[in-house]
Protein backbone atom coordinates (compact mmCIF):
# COMPACT_ATOMS: atom_id res chain seq x y z
CA UNK A 1 0.00 0.00 0.00
CA UNK A 2 2.91 2.33 0.78
CA UNK A 3 4.15 2.10 -2.80
CA UNK A 4 0.77 2.85 -4.35
CA UNK A 5 0.27 5.83 -2.03
CA UNK A 6 3.70 7.09 -3.00
CA UNK A 7 2.87 6.71 -6.71
CA UNK A 8 -0.34 8.69 -6.21
CA UNK A 9 1.66 11.38 -4.40
CA UNK A 10 4.27 11.64 -7.14
CA UNK A 11 1.64 11.69 -9.89
CA UNK A 12 -0.38 14.32 -8.03
CA UNK A 13 2.68 16.55 -7.50
CA UNK A 14 3.72 16.16 -11.14
CA UNK A 15 0.23 17.06 -12.39
CA UNK A 16 0.05 20.06 -10.01
CA UNK A 17 3.36 21.36 -11.36
CA UNK A 18 2.15 20.88 -14.96
CA UNK A 19 -1.17 22.62 -14.26
CA UNK A 20 0.32 25.60 -12.44
CA UNK A 21 3.17 25.97 -14.95
CA UNK A 22 0.75 25.88 -17.90
CA UNK A 23 -1.71 28.40 -16.51
CA UNK A 24 1.03 30.65 -15.10
CA UNK A 25 2.83 30.71 -18.46
CA UNK A 26 -0.46 31.30 -20.30
CA UNK A 27 -1.25 34.23 -18.00
CA UNK A 28 2.29 35.55 -18.36
CA UNK A 29 1.95 35.35 -22.16
CA UNK A 30 -0.80 37.99 -22.03
CA UNK A 31 1.97 40.51 -21.37
CA UNK A 32 3.35 39.83 -24.85
CA UNK A 33 0.02 39.91 -26.62
CA UNK A 34 -0.50 43.23 -28.40
CA UNK A 35 -3.78 44.28 -29.89
CA UNK A 36 -3.84 47.52 -31.80
CA UNK A 37 -7.04 49.01 -33.18
CA UNK A 38 -6.25 51.90 -35.50
CA UNK A 39 -8.24 54.84 -36.81
CA UNK A 40 -11.26 53.80 -38.92
CA UNK A 41 -11.19 54.44 -42.67
CA UNK A 42 -14.29 55.32 -44.65
CA UNK A 43 -14.93 54.20 -48.20
CA UNK A 44 -17.85 54.00 -50.59
CA UNK A 45 -18.95 51.08 -52.71
CA UNK A 46 -20.47 51.41 -56.16
CA UNK A 47 -23.81 50.33 -54.72
CA UNK A 48 -23.82 53.37 -52.45
CA UNK A 49 -22.84 51.60 -49.25
CA UNK A 50 -20.55 53.18 -46.70
CA UNK A 51 -17.84 50.82 -45.49
CA UNK A 52 -16.10 51.64 -42.24
CA UNK A 53 -12.86 49.67 -42.12
CA UNK A 54 -11.10 49.43 -38.81
CA UNK A 55 -7.52 48.15 -39.12
CA UNK A 56 -6.78 45.59 -36.43
CA UNK A 57 -3.24 44.46 -35.68
CA UNK A 58 -2.59 41.44 -33.48
CA UNK A 59 0.90 40.51 -32.37
CA UNK A 60 1.17 37.28 -30.44
CA UNK A 61 4.54 37.26 -28.71
CA UNK A 62 3.41 34.79 -26.05
CA UNK A 63 4.26 31.13 -25.56
CA UNK A 64 1.03 29.72 -26.98
CA UNK A 65 -1.26 30.06 -29.97
CA UNK A 66 -4.33 32.20 -29.73
CA UNK A 67 -7.51 30.89 -31.26
CA UNK A 68 -11.05 31.96 -32.10
CA UNK A 69 -10.23 35.66 -32.02
CA UNK A 70 -13.52 37.40 -32.68
CA UNK A 71 -14.22 41.11 -32.84
CA UNK A 72 -17.88 42.09 -32.97
CA UNK A 73 -19.14 45.64 -33.03
CA UNK A 74 -22.64 47.01 -33.08
CA UNK A 75 -23.49 50.62 -33.79
CA UNK A 76 -26.81 51.96 -32.53
CA UNK A 77 -28.39 55.37 -32.53
CA UNK A 78 -29.38 57.28 -29.42
CA UNK A 79 -32.71 55.43 -29.25
CA UNK A 80 -30.91 52.09 -29.25
CA UNK A 81 -31.95 51.11 -32.78
CA UNK A 82 -29.28 49.09 -34.54
CA UNK A 83 -27.64 50.84 -37.46
CA UNK A 84 -25.05 48.27 -38.39
CA UNK A 85 -23.22 45.29 -37.03
CA UNK A 86 -19.99 43.61 -38.03
CA UNK A 87 -17.94 40.64 -36.98
CA UNK A 88 -14.39 39.57 -37.75
CA UNK A 89 -13.13 36.09 -36.93
CA UNK A 90 -9.50 35.05 -36.99
CA UNK A 91 -9.36 31.28 -36.33
CA UNK A 92 -5.74 31.05 -35.16
CA UNK A 93 -2.95 33.49 -34.32
CA UNK A 94 0.14 31.35 -33.97
CA UNK A 95 2.80 32.29 -31.46
CA UNK A 96 5.22 34.81 -32.88
CA UNK A 97 2.74 35.79 -35.62
CA UNK A 98 1.72 39.31 -36.54
CA UNK A 99 -1.66 39.57 -38.21
CA UNK A 100 -3.15 42.63 -39.87
CA UNK A 101 -6.87 42.43 -40.49
CA UNK A 102 -9.71 44.77 -41.27
CA UNK A 103 -12.91 44.85 -39.31
CA UNK A 104 -15.62 46.07 -41.68
CA UNK A 105 -18.93 47.67 -40.92
CA UNK A 106 -21.19 48.23 -43.89
CA UNK A 107 -24.35 50.24 -44.08
CA UNK A 108 -26.33 52.29 -46.53
CA UNK A 109 -26.20 55.91 -45.44
CA UNK A 110 -29.08 56.74 -47.72
CA UNK A 111 -31.45 54.18 -46.22
CA UNK A 112 -30.18 54.95 -42.73
CA UNK A 113 -30.91 58.65 -43.11
CA UNK A 114 -34.32 58.02 -44.59
CA UNK A 115 -35.31 55.17 -42.26
CA UNK A 116 -33.84 56.35 -38.98
CA UNK A 117 -34.65 60.00 -39.39
CA UNK A 118 -33.63 63.10 -41.18
CA UNK A 119 -32.47 64.35 -37.82
CA UNK A 120 -28.97 62.96 -38.46
CA UNK A 121 -28.77 64.76 -41.80
CA UNK A 122 -29.02 68.18 -40.24
CA UNK A 123 -27.95 67.69 -36.61
CA UNK A 124 -24.75 66.57 -34.94
CA UNK A 125 -25.24 63.70 -32.53
CA UNK A 126 -23.64 60.61 -31.03
CA UNK A 127 -23.81 56.92 -31.85
CA UNK A 128 -23.42 54.18 -29.27
CA UNK A 129 -20.87 51.52 -30.14
CA UNK A 130 -20.72 48.16 -28.39
CA UNK A 131 -17.49 46.28 -29.01
CA UNK A 132 -16.94 42.69 -27.94
CA UNK A 133 -13.58 40.99 -28.28
CA UNK A 134 -13.38 37.30 -27.47
CA UNK A 135 -10.54 34.82 -27.84
CA UNK A 136 -9.11 31.65 -26.39
CA UNK A 137 -5.76 32.17 -24.72
CA UNK A 138 -3.44 29.21 -25.18
CA UNK A 139 -6.36 27.68 -27.12
CA UNK A 140 -8.17 26.69 -23.90
CA UNK A 141 -8.82 29.77 -21.73
CA UNK A 142 -11.80 31.76 -23.04
CA UNK A 143 -11.49 35.49 -22.43
CA UNK A 144 -13.84 38.22 -23.51
CA UNK A 145 -13.78 41.98 -23.20
CA UNK A 146 -16.85 44.14 -23.61
CA UNK A 147 -16.81 47.88 -23.99
CA UNK A 148 -19.46 50.50 -24.67
CA UNK A 149 -18.52 53.90 -25.94
CA UNK A 150 -20.02 56.65 -28.05
CA UNK A 151 -18.70 58.15 -31.24
CA UNK A 152 -19.65 61.59 -32.45
CA UNK A 153 -21.76 61.92 -35.58
CA UNK A 154 -21.24 64.99 -37.72
CA UNK A 155 -24.21 66.05 -39.83
CA UNK A 156 -23.42 66.44 -43.53
CA UNK A 157 -25.85 69.36 -43.83
CA UNK A 158 -25.43 71.01 -40.46
CA UNK A 159 -27.13 74.39 -40.13
CA UNK A 160 -28.73 74.08 -43.57
CA UNK A 161 -30.17 77.47 -44.40
CA UNK A 162 -32.13 78.77 -47.38
CA UNK A 163 -32.17 82.57 -47.52
CA UNK A 164 -34.81 84.88 -48.92
CA UNK A 165 -34.92 84.92 -52.76
CA UNK A 166 -33.49 88.03 -54.43
CA UNK A 167 -35.22 89.13 -57.62
CA UNK A 168 -33.54 90.81 -60.58
CA UNK A 169 -35.05 91.58 -63.99
CA UNK A 170 -33.77 89.33 -66.77
CA UNK A 171 -35.87 90.42 -69.75
CA UNK A 172 -39.38 91.73 -70.36
CA UNK A 173 -41.08 88.49 -69.36
CA UNK A 174 -38.69 86.82 -66.93
CA UNK A 175 -36.99 87.52 -63.65
CA UNK A 176 -33.74 86.15 -62.31
CA UNK A 177 -34.25 84.74 -58.82
CA UNK A 178 -31.17 84.14 -56.69
CA UNK A 179 -31.70 81.83 -53.70
CA UNK A 180 -28.79 81.73 -51.24
CA UNK A 181 -28.05 78.37 -49.61
CA UNK A 182 -25.55 77.52 -46.90
CA UNK A 183 -24.60 74.55 -44.72
CA UNK A 184 -21.63 73.14 -42.88
CA UNK A 185 -20.36 69.66 -43.64
CA UNK A 186 -19.58 68.10 -40.25
CA UNK A 187 -19.55 64.54 -41.61
CA UNK A 188 -16.30 62.58 -41.98
CA UNK A 189 -16.61 62.49 -45.79
CA UNK A 190 -16.72 65.12 -48.50
CA UNK A 191 -20.21 66.00 -49.70
CA UNK A 192 -20.30 66.23 -53.50
CA UNK A 193 -23.51 66.48 -55.44
CA UNK A 194 -26.20 68.75 -56.67
CA UNK A 195 -29.03 70.75 -55.21
CA UNK A 196 -32.21 71.22 -57.20
CA UNK A 197 -34.67 73.92 -56.32
CA UNK A 198 -38.29 74.24 -57.39
CA UNK A 199 -40.13 77.47 -56.75
CA UNK A 200 -43.86 77.20 -56.16
CA UNK A 201 -46.19 80.12 -56.16
CA UNK A 202 -49.95 80.09 -56.02
CA UNK A 203 -50.04 76.30 -56.27
CA UNK A 204 -47.92 76.06 -59.40
CA UNK A 205 -44.29 75.40 -60.13
CA UNK A 206 -42.96 78.68 -61.45
CA UNK A 207 -39.27 78.07 -61.66
CA UNK A 208 -36.48 75.55 -61.45
CA UNK A 209 -32.76 75.85 -60.80
CA UNK A 210 -29.87 73.69 -59.79
CA UNK A 211 -26.34 73.99 -58.64
CA UNK A 212 -23.48 71.66 -57.82
CA UNK A 213 -21.92 71.59 -54.38
CA UNK A 214 -18.56 70.36 -53.16
CA UNK A 215 -18.14 70.64 -49.42
CA UNK A 216 -14.98 69.15 -47.96
CA UNK A 217 -15.07 67.74 -44.45
CA UNK A 218 -15.64 70.51 -41.90
CA UNK A 219 -16.15 73.22 -44.55
CA UNK A 220 -18.83 75.87 -44.70
CA UNK A 221 -20.53 75.72 -48.07
CA UNK A 222 -22.39 78.72 -49.46
CA UNK A 223 -23.90 78.94 -52.90
CA UNK A 224 -26.53 80.74 -54.95
CA UNK A 225 -29.11 78.90 -56.97
CA UNK A 226 -30.30 80.77 -60.00
CA UNK A 227 -33.87 80.36 -61.20
CA UNK A 228 -35.58 82.01 -64.19
CA UNK A 229 -39.16 82.77 -63.36
CA UNK A 230 -41.94 84.32 -65.41
CA UNK A 231 -42.62 87.68 -63.84
CA UNK A 232 -46.38 87.37 -64.28
CA UNK A 233 -46.58 84.06 -62.40
CA UNK A 234 -44.66 84.97 -59.29
CA UNK A 235 -46.49 85.98 -56.12
CA UNK A 236 -45.15 87.56 -52.96
CA UNK A 237 -45.59 84.35 -51.01
CA UNK A 238 -44.93 80.74 -51.87
CA UNK A 239 -42.57 77.95 -51.06
CA UNK A 240 -39.37 76.39 -52.28
CA UNK A 241 -38.79 72.65 -52.66
CA UNK A 242 -35.21 71.62 -52.18
CA UNK A 243 -33.87 68.26 -53.44
CA UNK A 244 -30.41 67.12 -52.48
CA UNK A 245 -28.55 64.44 -54.34
CA UNK A 246 -25.02 63.49 -53.34
CA UNK A 247 -22.78 60.46 -53.77
CA UNK A 248 -23.86 59.28 -50.32
CA UNK A 249 -27.54 60.04 -50.11
CA UNK A 250 -30.54 61.64 -51.79
CA UNK A 251 -33.09 63.62 -49.90
CA UNK A 252 -36.09 65.70 -50.74
CA UNK A 253 -38.27 67.54 -50.88
CA UNK A 254 -37.38 69.96 -48.13
CA UNK A 255 -40.17 72.54 -48.16
CA UNK A 256 -39.22 76.08 -47.18
CA UNK A 257 -41.72 78.94 -47.38
CA UNK A 258 -40.65 82.36 -48.60
CA UNK A 259 -42.14 85.81 -48.60
Amino acid sequence: MDASIRVIGVASTFLWILLVAFFASAAYSVKDLHLDIKKPQLSLTQEGFVVISIPVKIENGGFYNLCDFNLTTMVADLNGSKITEGSTLIPVVRRGDKIDAFHNLTFSLSSFLLDKGVYYLFNDSHFNVTALISMKLAEVIPVQALSNFSVPWGAPLYNFHVGQPNLEPHNITHLKVYVPLSFENHSPVEVNGEIRLYMHSDGETVGYGETTVAAPQGALCTCLVLLYVEASRICEEGFLEVYLSTQLFSYGPLVIPYG
Partner: protein, 150 residues
Amino acid sequence: MAENGKSLRDLAKKLILRTLKAFLKSLVFYMAYLFVWSFFAHFESYVPGLGRTVENFVTVYVLLGFFGDLVAETVFQHFFSVAKALFVVGYLTLTLNGGILNLNYMSVSLTVDLRLFLAAAVLLSLLGLARSMLQAINYANKRSEPPFHL
Protein backbone atom coordinates in the same frame (compact mmCIF):
# COMPACT_ATOMS: atom_id res chain seq x y z
CA MET B 1 16.09 8.29 35.92
CA ALA B 2 18.99 8.52 33.44
CA GLU B 3 16.91 6.66 30.83
CA ASN B 4 14.05 9.10 31.36
CA GLY B 5 16.37 12.07 30.79
CA LYS B 6 17.78 10.46 27.66
CA SER B 7 14.32 9.89 26.14
CA LEU B 8 13.37 13.51 26.90
CA ARG B 9 16.56 14.68 25.22
CA ASP B 10 15.77 12.47 22.22
CA LEU B 11 12.25 13.83 22.04
CA ALA B 12 13.48 17.43 22.18
CA LYS B 13 16.09 16.66 19.52
CA LYS B 14 13.44 15.05 17.33
CA LEU B 15 11.11 18.01 17.79
CA ILE B 16 13.80 20.54 16.96
CA LEU B 17 14.79 18.58 13.85
CA ARG B 18 11.16 18.36 12.73
CA THR B 19 10.62 22.07 13.31
CA LEU B 20 13.76 22.88 11.39
CA LYS B 21 12.71 20.59 8.53
CA ALA B 22 9.19 22.07 8.45
CA PHE B 23 10.58 25.60 8.58
CA LEU B 24 13.05 24.95 5.75
CA LYS B 25 10.35 23.32 3.58
CA SER B 26 8.01 26.25 4.15
CA LEU B 27 10.81 28.72 3.46
CA VAL B 28 11.71 27.04 0.17
CA PHE B 29 8.05 26.97 -0.86
CA TYR B 30 7.58 30.64 0.07
CA MET B 31 10.76 31.66 -1.78
CA ALA B 32 9.52 29.77 -4.87
CA TYR B 33 6.22 31.65 -4.57
CA LEU B 34 8.03 35.00 -4.32
CA PHE B 35 10.12 34.14 -7.39
CA VAL B 36 7.09 33.15 -9.48
CA TRP B 37 5.07 36.11 -8.22
CA SER B 38 7.76 38.56 -9.34
CA PHE B 39 6.71 37.75 -12.95
CA PHE B 40 3.08 38.53 -12.23
CA ALA B 41 3.43 41.56 -9.96
CA HIS B 42 2.50 43.98 -12.78
CA PHE B 43 -0.88 42.26 -13.19
CA GLU B 44 -1.93 43.75 -9.88
CA SER B 45 -2.52 47.12 -11.52
CA TYR B 46 -5.14 45.47 -13.75
CA VAL B 47 -6.64 43.14 -11.14
CA PRO B 48 -7.01 44.92 -7.81
CA GLY B 49 -6.53 42.67 -4.80
CA LEU B 50 -4.88 39.86 -6.80
CA GLY B 51 -1.65 40.05 -4.77
CA ARG B 52 -3.46 39.90 -1.44
CA THR B 53 -5.64 36.98 -2.56
CA VAL B 54 -2.64 34.93 -3.71
CA GLU B 55 -0.65 35.94 -0.60
CA ASN B 56 -3.47 34.78 1.71
CA PHE B 57 -3.72 31.48 -0.16
CA VAL B 58 0.01 30.83 0.00
CA THR B 59 0.21 31.82 3.70
CA VAL B 60 -2.55 29.43 4.78
CA TYR B 61 -1.21 26.66 2.49
CA VAL B 62 2.33 27.06 3.88
CA LEU B 63 1.05 27.14 7.48
CA LEU B 64 -0.97 23.94 6.98
CA GLY B 65 2.10 22.32 5.46
CA PHE B 66 4.28 23.58 8.31
CA PHE B 67 1.96 22.18 11.00
CA GLY B 68 1.58 18.95 9.06
CA ASP B 69 5.35 18.52 9.01
CA LEU B 70 5.55 19.36 12.73
CA VAL B 71 3.24 16.48 13.59
CA ALA B 72 4.77 14.12 11.03
CA GLU B 73 4.55 10.38 11.74
CA THR B 74 1.41 10.89 13.81
CA VAL B 75 -2.22 10.61 12.74
CA PHE B 76 -2.53 14.44 12.91
CA GLN B 77 -0.27 14.76 9.88
CA HIS B 78 -3.08 13.28 7.80
CA PHE B 79 -5.60 15.68 9.32
CA PHE B 80 -3.51 18.56 8.05
CA SER B 81 -3.14 16.93 4.63
CA VAL B 82 -6.92 16.59 4.36
CA ALA B 83 -7.36 20.17 5.58
CA LYS B 84 -4.88 21.36 2.93
CA ALA B 85 -6.73 19.57 0.12
CA LEU B 86 -10.11 20.88 1.27
CA PHE B 87 -8.70 24.39 1.69
CA VAL B 88 -7.41 24.39 -1.91
CA VAL B 89 -10.83 23.32 -3.25
CA GLY B 90 -12.76 25.82 -1.12
CA TYR B 91 -10.45 28.79 -1.59
CA LEU B 92 -10.10 28.37 -5.35
CA THR B 93 -13.87 27.91 -5.82
CA LEU B 94 -14.64 31.01 -3.78
CA THR B 95 -11.95 33.35 -5.11
CA LEU B 96 -12.40 32.27 -8.73
CA ASN B 97 -16.15 32.82 -8.40
CA GLY B 98 -16.94 29.34 -9.66
CA GLY B 99 -14.47 29.71 -12.52
CA ILE B 100 -15.93 32.83 -14.17
CA LEU B 101 -13.95 35.92 -13.28
CA ASN B 102 -15.44 39.33 -14.02
CA LEU B 103 -13.09 42.27 -13.92
CA ASN B 104 -13.59 45.90 -14.77
CA TYR B 105 -10.68 47.87 -16.10
CA MET B 106 -11.41 51.47 -17.06
CA SER B 107 -14.51 51.19 -19.29
CA VAL B 108 -13.83 47.60 -20.31
CA SER B 109 -15.63 44.68 -18.73
CA LEU B 110 -13.37 41.64 -18.87
CA THR B 111 -14.60 38.06 -18.39
CA VAL B 112 -12.12 35.23 -17.97
CA ASP B 113 -13.41 31.66 -18.02
CA LEU B 114 -11.19 29.63 -15.70
CA ARG B 115 -13.57 26.72 -15.26
CA LEU B 116 -11.14 24.33 -16.91
CA PHE B 117 -8.36 25.36 -14.53
CA LEU B 118 -10.72 25.15 -11.57
CA ALA B 119 -11.97 21.71 -12.60
CA ALA B 120 -8.41 20.42 -12.99
CA ALA B 121 -7.36 21.96 -9.66
CA VAL B 122 -10.39 20.51 -7.84
CA LEU B 123 -9.75 17.06 -9.33
CA LEU B 124 -6.11 17.16 -8.29
CA SER B 125 -7.08 18.34 -4.81
CA LEU B 126 -9.55 15.47 -4.55
CA LEU B 127 -6.74 13.13 -5.59
CA GLY B 128 -4.66 14.65 -2.78
CA LEU B 129 -7.58 14.18 -0.40
CA ALA B 130 -7.94 10.53 -1.40
CA ARG B 131 -4.21 10.04 -0.92
CA SER B 132 -4.35 11.59 2.55
CA MET B 133 -7.24 9.31 3.51
CA LEU B 134 -5.40 6.28 2.20
CA GLN B 135 -2.35 7.34 4.23
CA ALA B 136 -4.50 7.74 7.33
CA ILE B 137 -6.05 4.28 6.80
CA ASN B 138 -2.61 2.81 6.18
CA TYR B 139 -1.29 4.49 9.33
CA ALA B 140 -4.18 3.19 11.46
CA ASN B 141 -3.77 -0.25 9.92
CA LYS B 142 -0.08 -0.39 10.76
CA ARG B 143 -0.72 0.74 14.34
CA SER B 144 -3.37 -1.90 14.93
CA GLU B 145 -1.32 -4.78 13.51
CA PRO B 146 0.20 -6.98 16.28
CA PRO B 147 3.97 -7.31 15.99
CA PHE B 148 4.92 -10.45 14.15
CA HIS B 149 7.53 -12.65 15.90
CA LEU B 150 8.99 -15.86 14.65
